[in-house]
Symmetry: C2
């Protein structure tokens, strides 16, 4: 495979090259890439806007992250924020800063992932900015979505004595990251060794190519369940449940045994001598949906595939707690993955 | 002045700290910072979206760029894109990657500039992302604005035999940059020397604190002039006029003597042995508005303060040309400041 330096095309040439095949999917996109701004028409619906930045060396490591996966992930994690508002993502803008190491072929791979995710979630790429970086790659995506006014679900609208539910399973993306980091070290130590990922495909995919839970939002709508509050899990369950509790002025009680954790996550945690529950609470990057719902929906929600009822809200004074498998109760702490802590803290080894 | 490391607050603490005093200005902003997404209501108007990324070491040098100015500029250059669509900016999202050198006090300065520009242009900050960077600072702003459908002015709607007009004056921001770079070198060579900026305040301000031309958009509206095509000048006059011509399938003839250039720009260019017209054509970062208008508006537009008629459009086959002061004609080339050229090219010394 040959590599072509970006300078062969220049900034405008690169953007033209990478956006020439865009076909707009949404009626709300009146004008996409190619002017000072995109022009959208939301026809009376609410416009939802969210943004996320991914930095090389902080959020991803190009030593083991395929560029196509990275492009996919950059879109999916933004779409996730719109689903967490109970909305539908419609457009993204994508800004990229690229180092001298970047090639046109690499950018084509990245954009192939971007377009694949756009296809998957029905999103139009409508604008962006591409520039050089003196150092690593920097990705900034802003997503716009829509919802009817009465559909929007916020974080601050949970009430005491409601169900706390989560989609999918937790902790897998963090375990996938640990595996990738371990194999990277092994590989760097001995370049004849091939990384050994057999039996861990699921946790790798959760790390490298997460999905936004469009299906869950659609399922809940189909079943007539409107969450009373909702958030997506990007920084770990503990941090996100505490966001809902703080903003809604409620407390919570989670049950450890109800927290959904995949077999591969358990297995990897065991191998690394870590506690799988701690990974689920603090690992981050799950992009599952955490929501609250009225108590009388318990039987309906418990029976839905891909949804777990993991606890309930209570009065604020009772605090945020978790009941462990052995019946003890402890206070939740939002350890989750704060970027500015002095030492990089992962889940502690209990 | 004391400096506090960012780790003292953590990511959520920092965002809370920097956004706690936001008061929303626009009716269209229903929910700002604090959920998975902001919620906006454009009530039937068109939504305009644009995004720009600023990278340390590429777009700005913290050796001579005050953080407050940088925050102001990050908002102003985005607002400029919305005015270039004949719209009104309403909201921004702001994502920041910060190196370990960043302090809370520095970020307060940066946000003070952001809020000052938001105040100036009537914009609400409604979301963002703050993360660490392994290297330099990276700023990504997405701006949303509004316009009635029939108000939006595109790049591709100019016709032959129309006036080409520009606001303000050109080349000053580039000359300001040259002056800052020169004084940085002098200063680095001898740390007793104070930089000498006397008599060059205007070109410095054009570089460090550009304004978006809200006033021009309002003036044209007041006078009943609707541009037939419009773009803002971020990469130099030559590049932008060729964007309009290419997208509208027209040619153009500009007159060198009509290109508005400030006295300080001429003086600085002379000192540096550069050609001021070349700086205006290719310097970039002017953030003036370039627009076309019907021929019969010539007398009205010529009489308006802050607007210069600099040429006219013609048939596409005639190409994009400029007639110089001595009566020669040459073909325009979009040299303007392409980020991926191998050597960094400024305007050539003619």
């Amino acid at each position: 495979m040959s590599y072509t330096e970006l300078s062969a095309l220049g900034e405008f040439g690169l953007i033209d090259h990478l956006t020439r095949d865009i076909r707009l999917k949404n009626a709300s996109t009146r004008k996409g890439v190619g002017d000072d701004a995109a022009v959208l028409d939301y026809e009376g619906k609410r416009v939802l806007v969210s943004t996320d930045m991914l930095i090389e060396g902080v959020h991803f490591d190009l030593a083991y992250t395929p560029l196509k996966h990275l492009g996919y992930k950059a879109v999916a994690v933004n779409a996730s924020d719109i689903y967490a508002m109970n909305g539908t993502p419609r457009q993204i803008t994508l800004s990229l800063a690229l180092s001298n190491h970047a090639s046109i072929e690499g950018m084509e791979e990245f954009y192939a992932g971007v377009y694949l995710a756009c296809e998957r979630y029905g999103i139009d790429l409508v604008g962006g900015d591409t520039t050089s970086s003196r150092t690593g790659m920097c990705i900034s995506v802003t997503v716009l979505g829509e919802a009817e006014e009465e559909e929007v679900v916020y974080r601050n609208t949970a009430a005491p004595n409601q169900l706390i539910c989560v989609s999918g399973d937790l902790g897998a993306a963090y375990m996938g990251l640990q595996l990738l980091e371990r194999e990277k070290v092994v590989f760097q130590g001995n370049d004849r060794t091939q990384p050994d990922f057999a039996g861990y495909e699921y946790i790798l995919e959760r790390q490298l190519k997460p999905e936004a839970r469009r299906d869950i939002v659609e399922l809940l709508r189909e079943k007539g369940v409107r969450p009373t509050a909702m958030i997506d899990i990007s920084d770990g369950l503990a941090s996100e449940v505490m966001h809902i509790c703080k903003d809604s002025k409620v407390g919570c009680n989670l049950y450890e045994e109800r927290i959904p954790i995949d077999y591969q996550t358990f297995k990897m945690a065991e191998e690394l001598n870590m506690n799988a529950t701690v990974c689920a609470l603090s690992g981050g990057e799950d992009y599952e949906l955490l929501f609250t719902a009225p108590l009388d929906r318990h039987d309906l929600l418990s029976a839905l595939p891909g949804i777990s009822v993991i606890g309930h809200t209570c009065r604020e004074e009772e605090g945020c707690r978790m009941t462990t498998r052995d019946g003890n109760t402890f206070e939740l702490k939002a350890q989750g993955w704060t970027n500015f802590t002095k030492k990089e803290e992962g889940p502690s080894h209990e």
